[in-house]
């Protein structure tokens, strides 16, 4: 069989992709319908059980909340980085990247110490009289959100800065000259022009959040357990690989569907990070 021109050179790359991505996903799918017996009983168990439904719901809820908060926090930071002198910006970039390189478990434990009832934040709040009861900042959605937003921020800031830098500052000046208030200029010019960056970063944060494990396990409570933790239990402790595979496969399919939906809404070029 003759390969179309140009495909021959891609063979090594395609083989690698096939070996490391396609084969494991197919194996996952196969296991989910053959273990312990052939059939769809694993999917029936997952979809028919309220507990699993709740865990699925939690997973998407946490990912959604984390994405929204990350965008809100990242935007001003990215804007600042985009307009400040390049020398200063590169120092700040360095700091942001450095935090990404610090061990994840260490950072999560640090948040535990900060957020718990006897932690630094609560003690400061009580000492200053702002509150007389410790606030519940950990073992719940608040704790997971704070910890995950912190970890996800670089993934949002980096694509956003790229987009914001590409915006011609003259457009904002022109808006001001035409009498637009800063808010109107933001809403009608900056925000629409930065949407591709928000979409690219948001998608990345959302998809990464869906599979997150360490941070929700340590900062969350059992009532907002996420799917990754449940799958780890099924695979490692209960050795129920069929069920774990089915759960992982459902998560994968839903994630891909969301990605496809976004491609359609935002346009493929933009979702992939191009401005």
């Amino acid at each position: 069989m003759r390969l179309p021109a140009g495909v021959g050179g891609l063979l090594p790359a395609l083989t690698l992709i096939g070996l490391f991505f396609v084969v494991p996903v197919l194996a996952l799918l196969l296991r989910s319908v053959t273990d312990p017996a052939p059939g769809l009983q694993n999917y029936a168990a997952l979809l028919g059980d309220g507990t699993y439904a709740r865990v699925f719901f939690n997973t998407f809820l946490v990912a959604f909340v984390v994405t929204i908060v990350t965008v809100l926090v990242a935007f001003p930071v990215a804007w600042m980085l985009a307009i400040m002198p390049p020398a200063l910006a590169s120092i700040l970039f360095g700091i942001i990247i450095l935090s990404m390189w610090t061990n994840l478990l260490t950072r999560t434990y640090a948040w535990m110490v900060l957020l718990q009832r006897t932690g630094v934040i609560n003690r400061a709040l009580i000492a200053t009289g702002i509150t007389d009861q410790p606030l519940p900042l950990i073992n719940n959605l608040t704790g997971v959100t704070i910890g995950m937003v912190y970890i996800m921020l670089p993934f949002m800031i980096l694509p956003l800065v790229g987009t914001l830098r590409a915006i011609d500052p003259m457009t904002l000046r022109a808006a001001a000259l035409c009498g637009a208030s800063p808010l109107a200029a933001f809403r009608r010019i900056l925000l629409p022009l930065s949407l591709p960056g928000i979409a690219a970063g948001g998608l990345m944060v959302f998809v990464m959040s869906l599979g997150y494990f360490v941070t929700p396990a340590l900062l969350g409570g059992t009532s907002n357990m996420m799917l990754a933790e449940m799958i780890a239990q099924m695979i490692q402790s209960l050795l129920n690989w069929g069920l774990g595979s089915a759960a992982a496969f459902i998560l994968l399919v839903v994630t891909m569907a969301l990605y496809a939906l976004q491609l359609r809404l935002v346009g493929s070029k933009r979702a992939a990070g191009g401005a």
Partner: protein, 334 residues
């Protein structure tokens, strides 16, 4: 296809394959594995001439993947007893060669055809003295939020322990625990659910108690032992302490089976057990070990607290693990 999948997994895992004259020992890492290396592996290498490579942490999924793929790189693995019982039934383990491993002095509670006790521990009630008014006397106090307000911490996973504690606190006599009355246990747990903070690993349990984040909780006695050694202000009640064992197993198809059996013999010997107990605060499973240990160490071990001691029924758990887990996670997620 299943084989291909498992093969890929095992290939990725197979980082510590042993050569001839070597074997691989896998445990949970941290201070436990350090003590096992010092007390068992190093003397074994000196006497038998077999180098013992260390790997870890123990991962039941990996163990199963290795056996399924027929590419087993672990020779001896430290696992929990209920897992060992289920794994033996699923054909994942080699039978113990009792011609090599003498079993006469081994505590029969903690060994069977496919597993030799590694050590045994107790779940005890531990508290932060600064955070608790008075002294909790037993499990019932962990459910008494009037007398003892504040957060309490329990082991997060579906494993032997919490269900039994709830039933004991509700007045079930120790000898009537099994079969577990799950309805009754969860009803009892409902009464304090909003006051529970869960710990997922030993370090987390220590952090919660030492910081006072949880006033008291269910801890492994070795973790309390370590807290006390570090000078933390903790109290402990051995009342109705619940024992469970870790065991050493040989995965089916282990490449260095002979060396593995000899290693088991050394690890379960009175000397090996005595040394490990001294280093870890966990109890020996060889009944002759105590004679080789300093009296003040023996005093702090679970087997100095056999009055009212309760053995968690690992056979029951091995059989009902799945159905309990389903209820457990459903209740937790509610």
């Amino acid at each position: 296809m299943k084989l291909i999948f498992a093969g890929i997994l095992a290939g990725l895992i197979a980082t510590t394959a042993a050569k001839a004259g070597e074997m691989v020992f896998t445990s949970w890492g941290g201070t436990t594995q350090e003590a096992q290396t010092k007390s068992w592996a190093e003397p074994f290498t000196a006497s038998a001439g077999v180098k013992v490579l260390q790997d870890g942490p123990t991962d039941y999924g990996k163990l199963k993947a290795m056996v399924d793929a027929k590419n087993v790189t672990w020779d001896v693995v430290d696992v929990e007893m209920d897992f060992a019982i289920k794994a033996a039934k699923d054909g994942l383990l080699e039978p113990i060669d009792f011609a090599v491993v003498p079993k006469d002095d081994l505590d029969p509670r903690f060994s069977n055809e496919h597993a030799i006790g590694s050590f045994y521990y107790s779940f005890v009630l531990a508290w932060n003295k600064g955070a608790v008014p008075g002294e909790p006397a037993g499990w019932a106090d962990m459910f008494d939020t009037k007398k003892f307000p504040g957060k309490r911490t329990f082991y997060k996973w579906s494993a032997p322990g919490v269900i039994e504690i709830a039933l004991l606190a509700d007045g079930v006599p120790a000898d009537k625990l099994y079969p577990l009355d799950l309805d009754r246990a969860f009803k009892k747990l409902d009464t304090i659910k909003s006051d529970i903070v869960w710990w997922g690993g030993g370090a987390e349990s220590q952090q919660l108690i030492a910081s006072g984040e949880a006033a008291f909780g269910q801890l492994w006695n070795g973790r309390v032992f370590a807290l006390e050694k570090d000078g933390a202000d903790v109290g402990v009640s051995w009342n109705q302490n619940l024992t469970a064992a870790d065991v050493l197993v040989v995965p089916k198809g282990a490449k260095n089976k002979d060396a593995a059996m000899k290693f088991l013999a050394a690890a379960s010997s009175p000397t090996g057990q005595a040394k490990f107990a001294e280093a870890s605060g966990y109890a020996p499973i060889n009944t002759k070990a105590k004679a080789e240990m300093p009296a003040d160490v023996v005093k702090g071990l679970p087997d100095a607290h056999v009055d009212g001691q309760i053995n968690l029924d690992m056979n029951y758990w091995a059989e009902h693990r799945d159905e309990i887990a389903t209820r457990w996670y459903a209740w937790q997620a509610k």
